[in-house]
C-alpha cells in the first residue's frame, strides 16, 4: 500500500561544501532545455507538489512514461528510462540543490508568495544540464527575505 521513499528523509550531515556536484552525470541525461525550453512545458507539469508541500517533487517514472511511451522512444537516454520502467525501478537522480537538515524550507510558501522558480533555480529552460546557480547560503536567503520584507526570524527557517 505504501512505498518507502528514501532520499527525502535522509538524515545526512551537512558537509559545508558550497559547490554543487553539477559536473557529475545524472543516471539519465534529462534535458531541461528540451522540455521546458523548446517544448515550453510548465514547471508544475512535472514538479507537482510544489504548491502543496515543502518539497517540489521529482516526477515519478510513470509521469515520464506518460509521454515517452510514444515520444522519442529511439533516443538512447529515453531507452534508459524505458529500462527503468520495464524493471519498475526508481531513478536515483542526483541532487543539485541540497539544504542541511537543520534548515526548514518550503516550496509551497515561496510559490504561493509568487516567487518565480527561476529566482532561485535560474532559467533552467536554457540549461541542458541543471547547474546550481544559487549558493543557498544563509546570507543569500536573508538578502532576499529582507528585500521582500519576508520574515527574518531565526525560527522561520531553522528547525
Amino acid at each position: 500500500m505504501l512505498v518507502v521513499m528514501t532520499g527525502l528523509s535522509d538524515v545526512a550531515v551537512y558537509s559545508g561544501n558550497e559547490d554543487a556536484p553539477s559536473s557529475r552525470t545524472q543516471p539519465v541525461l534529462f534535458s531541461h532545455l528540451t522540455h521546458s525550453g523548446q517544448e515550453k512545458m510548465a514547471c508544475l507539469y512535472c514538479h507537482i507538489y510544489v504548491e502543496r508541500s515543502s518539497v517540489a517533487g521529482v516526477p515519478s517514472v510513470q509521469k515520464c512514461i506518460g509521454c515517452h511511451e510514444m515520444i522519442a522512444t529511439d533516443d538512447p537516454e529515453v531507452k534508459k528510462l524505458l529500462t527503468y520502467w520495464d524493471n519498475q525501478e526508481a531513478i536515483p537522480w542526483r541532487k543539485i540543490y541540497h539544504l542541511p537538515d537543520f534548515v526548514y524550507f518550503s516550496h509551497r510558501m515561496h510559490v504561493n508568495a509568487h516567487i518565480e522558480c527561476s529566482e532561485c533555480h535560474g532559467n533552467v529552460a536554457e540549461m541542458e544540464v541543471v547547474k546550481k546557480v544559487s549558493s543557498l547560503s544563509m546570507g543569500w536567503c536573508l538578502d532576499c527575505h529582507k528585500k521582500k520584507e519576508a520574515p527574518v526570524d531565526c525560527n522561520v527557517c531553522h528547525k
Partner: protein, 1020 residues
C-alpha cells in the same frame, strides 16, 4: 621497500585521502515509480486504526510521512479515548520500529531455552508445524493440541475457534495476566448480567474507589482519565466531584484522590460492607429499596459492625462514618473495585461487597452510577484463569499436551516460580510461538513465527468500555511490513489449507483481510444498523469510510439496561466467605506487586521511551525498586538504594529500597513489568520480577491468581546501588512551584472574583495583553516593542486539578520531537533529556494533606527569559510570537542558559544520541536530530505552529483557536492542558487563564512565563 618509496607512498595516499574528503557526498532524490494517490512527499497523512497495547480499545490516528510512521495521536471521533492517548499507546511506534523484532521464522537448535536458534524460511517453518499437526491427526490425538492466545476481542477470535475446532481440539484458550474475570463473575452474581458494565465517572459527584487504579491500568485508563478530568472540572458540572481512594499502597490514582484511606491489604470488601452496614442502619440507604430488601440487607450485613470493620481494616470508626455519610448524601455516588483489591483469595467477596455498597446507596442504572449496556456483538472468548493454567500444567506433565500454540501470550514471565511452569513446558514435545518478539515464553519454544505488529495489521476490536455508545474499532496497516512477517490470521489459514481435510473447509477466504471484510459486510452492512445504514448502498465505499474513520460506533449512548434487584439471601454464600482477619506474624510484611503504568504486565519493557519515562510516584526509570515506608526503613536501618532481599515461602528476589510515605508501614510494594530474562536489549536483565515469588493461591470461585495476597520477609544484603531517578528533593520546600487550595477557598475565590472571563479582558484597542499580564509587573514584559505588532503570543494553561501525573505528555513529547534516549547511567547523573517532566512533590510533614502534588514542568517560554541574555552566541532568543526559541546549529554548548533557567527546563546532550536501526525510521524530518554538545528544550512544538501558520497564511486567515495542539496537549488523557494565543482574548487559553485559581511558577522572579497553572483543589 626502501624508506624513500615508503614515504612516497604514504604521501600519495595522504593527498588522495585529502582529495576525496573535499568532494561532497552525492545525495540522491529518488521519486516514486508510480506515485500513490494519497501521499504527498514532505507531508504527513493520518491513518485511523485501533491501539492494541492494552484491551481498552482506544482509537488512534497514525501520522505517516514518506511511508514511515512518525507519531500516534488519539482518534478524536472515537468514543473510548476521544482523541487522547496514554504513554503505552504512544510507544506502539517503538514496537513497530523495535530493533529487537524478529525478522524471520526461528527454529530452535540447542536445548529448550538455551537461546540457540537458526533462521528458517516460512515454507520450512510452516512445514514443520503442518507435519507435527498431521502426526497428531494420524494418531487420533487432535485433542492434544492446545492453544493459548492473548485475548483477541475481535473477529480474529473466530479464526482461532475455527482452526482449533476444525482440527478437532477443544483447547482454544485466552490468557492475560490482568483480566476482568472476577469483576464479571461478581456482576453476574449480583445483577444476573454478562453485558458491558460502565462506570459513569464523569457525572458522578462522589467517587469511592477500593483499589481500582483507573488512572493507570484498570480497564481503560485513557477513558477514565478523560472522565476523571471532567469529574473534577467539567464545564457542565455544578460542583467539583470528591474522590476517596482506599488501598494499602498509594497508587498514582490514590495520589489524585482528595483523601487516601490506607487500609489493611485484603480488607477492601470488609470496609465496603462496613460502609454499607452503616448506611443501612442509619437509614441513609436508597429510598427506592423495599422494606423487605432493607431488612434482608441488614440481616446479610449484620456481621459488619463498625467496631469489627475498624479492627479488620485498620480504618478508624470516624472515617468509616464519614465515608458512609458522604457516600449516601452526595448524590450520585459511585464505588469501584479493582486491581490489588481483587487479586486476593477472597477476590470475589471484595468485588461483590463493592457491588452491594453501590446497590444499597442506589447507584445502579443511574446517571453517574453503574450502568449496563448491550454491546454490538459479544465475542465469546474462552478465558482461562491461573487455576486452569495450573490444570494445563499438570496435563503437560502427564504428557496429555502434545503440541502447544502460543499467540502473543507470555505466561512464563508472569508465572510464579513455584508453579514450575517451565518444567511443564519442557514436557510438551512441540511448542510454536506466534509473536513479534522473543519473549520469555517464545524463548522456551521450538519454533517462533514472527508476526506483523498491530500497525502493520488488519483487525477489529471491541473496546472494554465505550460509555454506552456501542462501538467496534477497525484496524488497518499504516505502513508496509518492515520484515518478512505475517498476519496471525494468514498463518492459521495457511496451516489449515495445508492440513487439508475438515479444517481447511473452515477457511474459504484467501487471507485475513478478505475474511474481515466479509464479516463486516455481513454483520454491519447487510444486517444493517438500527439506523438503517448499510441498506441499498455499495459496500466498497462504506468499507473505505469505516477505514477512514477507524471503526463503527453510535453517536449517542443507548439506553442503559434495566437491572432487576438481586437475590439478596443468595449472595450470602459469597458474603459469608469473608476473609478472616489474619494479623501479620513476626517480621512478615504484606507484599503488593503493582502493575506499572508504563509496562503494564511487562509488555512495555522493551520500549526505550517507557524505560526512560520516570514512574509518576517515585520518578524511577530503567529498573525495579521496593517501596518501603520511611518509618519501617528507619527501624530496619534501610536507606534508599540498599539492595534488599525479599523472600516469600516460594522464593526470593532482590531490589533496591525506595523510601515512600505513600505506603503502609506494614506493607511493601514492587512494580510489575521488569525482570525480563528475554524480550530484547531494553528489557533483558533489568530489575527483578515480583511475580516470581508470589504464593500461587487462587481465588476460590474464579481461579484467578491472588497475586496481591503474598507475605514476605526482607533482609539487607549489604550491597548498595544508586537508583536512576529524576527527583531531586522529595518536597518543594517553600518554593510554591505546585500550588493547591482547599475546596472552600476555591469556592470563595470563584464567588469573589471580579475576573469574570469576558469582562476582565481589555478591549483589542490599546492594551493587547489579557488582564493577567496587565498587572503591575507587566511593565517589565519583554519584548514590549513587539507586542502591538504581533498576531500571536503562544501560551499554555495547565489545570493541576485535572492533571493526574500520568506521564503521557512526556512520552508523546519524546515521539514528536526526536528526543534521545539517554540510558540508565545518564539518569543517575541527572543527564537525562526531557522537554516536559512531571514533578511530584510530597507535602511537608507539617501539612495535613497526605497526597503529593504533580506539576508538569516544561519550558515556560518566559517573556523575560533568564536564559536569553546569557547566551554568548545568540542561539536562544525570543521570537515575535513570544516563543523562547533555540537554534541548534548556533548552539556551542556553553550551558549558561541551563544554569540560568530557574525551572530547569533545559537539557544538554552530554552524549551522542544513538538510535539502533530501525528506530531512525520514527524520527521526524520536521525538526533537527540534535548531536552531542547541543542544548535543547521544549519548543511548544514549533513545527506544528509553523504548519498551522503556513496553512493560515495560504488560506488568508488567522490561525484558529485550537488548531495547534502541541504533542503534550494532544496526548493529555485528562485534558489538563490548553494551548493557544494569549493575545486572542476569546481563545480557550485566555479564558482559562482568567480562572481565579491561576498562578505562574516562581512568579516572584518576574519571568513573565507563558505557562499558566491553575491550582489543584484538595477537598480533604
Amino acid at each position: 621497500m626502501d624508506r624513500r618509496l615508503f614515504l612516497k607512498m604514504v604521501g600519495t595516499a595522504g593527498v588522495l585521502g585529502a582529495c576525496s574528503q573535499v568532494e561532497e557526498p552525492v545525495k540522491n532524490l529518488v521519486p516514486f515509480v508510480i506515485p500513490p494517490e494519497d501521499v504527498v512527499p514532505g507531508k504527513s497523512t493520518g491513518y485511523a486504526s485501533v491501539c492494541q497495547q492494552c484491551p481498552s480499545g482506544c482509537g488512534i490516528v497514525v501520522k505517516v510521512q514518506d511511508g514511515q510512521a512518525k507519531k500516534i495521536e488519539g482518534n478524536p471521533l472515537h468514543p473510548v479515548n476521544q482523541g487522547k492517548l496514554c504513554a503505552l499507546g504512544e510507544s506502539a511506534l517503538q514496537e513497530l520500529y523495535n530493533p529487537d523484532r524478529l525478522q524471520t521464522p526461528m527454529k530452535r537448535i540447542g536445548e529448550r531455552g538455551s537461546g540457540q536458534w537458526e533462521a528458517v524460511s516460512w515454507e520450512q517453518a510452516n512445514q514443520i508445524v503442518v507435519d507435527r499437526l498431521k502426526t497428531l491427526e494420524n494418531n487420533k490425538k487432535t485433542d492434544a493440541l492446545y492453544c493459548i492466545s492473548r485475548p483477541l476481542k475481535g473477529h480474529l477470535n473466530q479464526i482461532f475457534n475455527a482452526f482449533l475446532e476444525g482440527f478437532g481440539s477443544p483447547h482454544d484458550y485466552r490468557y492475560t495476566f490482568l483480566d476482568d474475570t472476577v469483576l464479571q463473575k461478581a456482576n453476574a452474581l449480583c445483577f444476573g448480567i454478562h453485558g458491558q458494565v460502565e462506570y459513569d465517572l464523569a457525572q458522578t459527584n462522589y467517587l469511592l474507589s477500593f483499589g481500582a487504579n483507573f488512572l493507570e491500568t484498570w480497564r481503560a485508563p485513557v477513558y477514565f482519565s478523560k472522565a476523571y478530568g471532567d469529574f473534577r472540572q467539567g464545564k457542565t458540572r455544578q460542583t467539583r466531584g470528591k474522590f476517596v481512594q482506599c488501598e494499602a499502597r498509594m497508587s498514582l490514582t490514590a495520589a489524585n484522590a482528595d483523601q487516601w484511606v490506607s487500609l489493611r491489604p485484603g480488607s477492601e470488601g470488609i470496609l465496603a460492607l462496613g460502609v454499607a452496614h452503616l448506611i443501612l442502619n442509619k437509614g441513609w440507604h436508597d429510598p427506592g429499596l423495599s422494606n423487605q430488601a432493607v431488612a434482608e440487607w441488614r440481616e446479610l450485613l449484620s456481621d459488619f459492625k463498625p467496631n469489627q470493620v475498624a479492627k479488620w481494616s485498620d480504618v478508624s470508626e470516624e472515617t468509616l462514618l464519614q465515608l458512609a455519610k458522604d457516600f449516601s448524601s452526595i448524590r450520585p455516588s459511585l464505588a469501584l473495585c479493582g486491581d490489588a483489591a481483587m487479586a486476593q483469595k477472597s477476590g470475589l467477596f471484595q468485588a461483590v461487597a463493592v457491588n452491594i455498597l453501590n446497590i444499597v446507596a442506589g447507584n445502579i442504572g443511574i446517571k453517574g452510577g453503574v450502568q449496563f449496556f448491550d454491546p454490538f456483538e459479544s465475542i465469546d472468548e474462552n478465558h482461562i484463569s491461573w487455576k486452569e493454567i495450573d490444570g494445563i500444567r499438570q496435563k503437560m506433565l502427564s504428557g496429555q499436551v502434545q503440541a502447544l500454540i502460543l499467540h502473543e501470550a507470555n505466561p512464563l514471565f508472569h508465572a510464579p516460580e513455584s508453579l514450575r511452569l517451565e518444567d511443564a513446558f519442557k514436557n510438551v514435545p512441540f511448542i510454536v510461538s506466534l509473536s513479534a518478539f522473543m519473549d520469555e515464553s517464545s524463548a522456551f519454544s521450538d519454533l517462533v513465527l514472527p508476526l506483523h505488529t498491530p500497525l502493520e495489521s488488519f483487525g477489529d476490536l471491541l473496546p472494554s468500555v465505550d460509555g454506552g455508545r456501542r462501538s467496534v474499532g477497525l484496524m488497518q496497516p499504516v505502513v508496509a511490513p518492515l520484515y518478512d512477517t505475517r498476519h496471525v490470521g494468514d498463518i492459521l489459514m495457511h496451516w489449515a489449507t495445508a492440513l487439508e481435510g475438515s479444517v481447511s473447509e473452515h477457511f474459504p477466504w484467501d487471507n485475513f483481510e478478505s475474511f474481515l471484510k466479509e464479516v463486516w459486510e455481513e454483520y454491519f452492512f447487510l444486517k444493517g444498523f438500527e439506523d438503517g445504514v448499510g441498506f441499498g448502498v455499495d459496500f466498497k465505499p462504506f468499507w473505505t469510510e469505516l477505514l477512514q474513520k477507524g471503526g463503527r460506533w453510535d453517536e449517542k449512548a443507548s439506553k442503559p439496561k434495566t437491572i432487576h434487584s438481586p437475590d439478596i439471601p443468595g449472595l450470602g454464600a459469597v458474603i459469608h466467605r469473608k476473609p478472616e482477619l489474619e494479623l501479620l506474624s513476626g517480621d512478615n510484611f504484606y507484599f503488593i506487586p503493582a502493575p506499572s503504568i508504563f509496562h503494564l504486565d511487562g509488555r512495555g519493557a522493551n520500549r526505550p521511551w517507557l524505560q526512560e519515562a520516570p514512574d509518576p510516584m517515585t520518578t524511577i526509570t530503567w529498573g525495579s525498586w521496593l517501596e518501603i515506608h520511611p518509618d519501617t526503613a528507619g527501624q530496619l536501618d534501610i536507606r534508599e538504594g540498599d539492595l534488599i532481599k525479599i523472600s516469600s515461602p516460594e522464593g526470593a528476589i532482590e531490589a533496591p529500597a525506595y523510601l515512600s510515605p505513600g505506603i503502609r508501614p506494614d506493607t511493601l510494594s514492587m512494580p510489575i513489568g521488569q525482570g525480563h530474562t528475554a524480550y530484547g536489549r531494553y528489557a533483558e536483565g533489568r530489575g527483578s520480577n515480583p511475580l516470581k515469588i508470589i504464593v500461587p493461591d487462587f481465588e476460590a470461585e474464579t481461579g484467578a491468581l491472588a497475586w496481591a495476597g503474598t507475605r514476605v520477609k526482607i533482609a539487607k544484603t549489604g550491597k548498595h546501588v544508586k537508583i536512576a531517578k529524576t527527583e531531586g528533593h522529595t518536597s518543594q520546600m517553600d518554593h510554591q512551584m505546585a500550588m493547591s487550595v482547599s475546596a472552600e477557598e476555591a469556592v470563595r475565590l470563584n464567588q469573589q472574583s471580579s475576573l469574570k472571563p469576558i469582562e476582565a479582558l481589555p478591549s483589542r484597542k490599546g492594551v493587547t495583553l489579557p488582564a493577567f499580564f496587565n498587572q503591575a509587573l507587566s511593565k517589565y514584559f519583554r519584548p514590549q516593542q513587539n507586542n502591538q505588532a504581533n498576531d500571536y503570543r503562544w501560551g499554555m494553561v495547565i489545570d493541576l486539578d485535572r492533571c493526574t501525573g500520568c506521564g503521557a505528555c512526556n512520552v508523546s513529547c519524546h515521539a514528536e520531537n526526536n528526543l534521545p534516549i539517554t540510558g540508565e547511567e545518564a539518569v543517575k547523573t541527572q543527564r537525562e533529556i526531557n522537554w516536559i517532566r512531571i514533578e511530584r512533590y510530597w507535602p511537608k510533614s507539617t501539612e495535613k494533606q497526605e497526597t503529593p502534588l504533580f506539576l508538569p514542568m516544561l519550558c515556560q517560554h518566559c517573556g523575560n527569559a533568564p536564559c536569553e541574555p546569557v547566551c554568548p552566541v545568540y542561539a536562544t532568543y525570543h521570537t515575535p510570537d513570544g516563543l523562547n526559541a533555540q537554534v541548534y546549529n548556533r548552539c556551542v554548548g556553553t550551558r549558561y542558559c541551563a544554569n540560568n533557567c530557574p525551572y530547569e527546563a533545559r537539557s544538554f546532550n552530554f552524549v551522542q544520541p544513538e538510535w539502533p536501526q530501525p528506530l531512525t525510521q520514527q524520527l521526524s524530518p520536521d525538526l533537527s536530530v540534535r548531536d552531542a554538545g547541543v542544548m535543547e528544550k521544549c519548543t511548544f512544538c514549533v513545527q506544528r505552529i509553523r504548519t498551522a501558520k503556513e496553512d493560515a497564511k495560504i488560506e488568508k486567515r488567522r490561525v484558529r483557536d485550537g488548531e495547534i495542539q502541541p504533542a503534550c496537549v494532544s496526548a493529555c488523557p485528562a485534558d489538563a492542558m490548553l494551548f493557544g494565543s494569549l493575545l486572542d482574548h476569546e481563545s480557550a487559553v485566555s479564558l482559562a487563564a482568567s480562572d481565579p485559581r491561576r498562578y505562574r511558577a516562581l512568579e516572584h522572579l518576574n519571568t513573565e512565563s507563558a505557562v499558566i497553572y491553575l491550582k489543584r483543589i484538595i477537598d480533604a
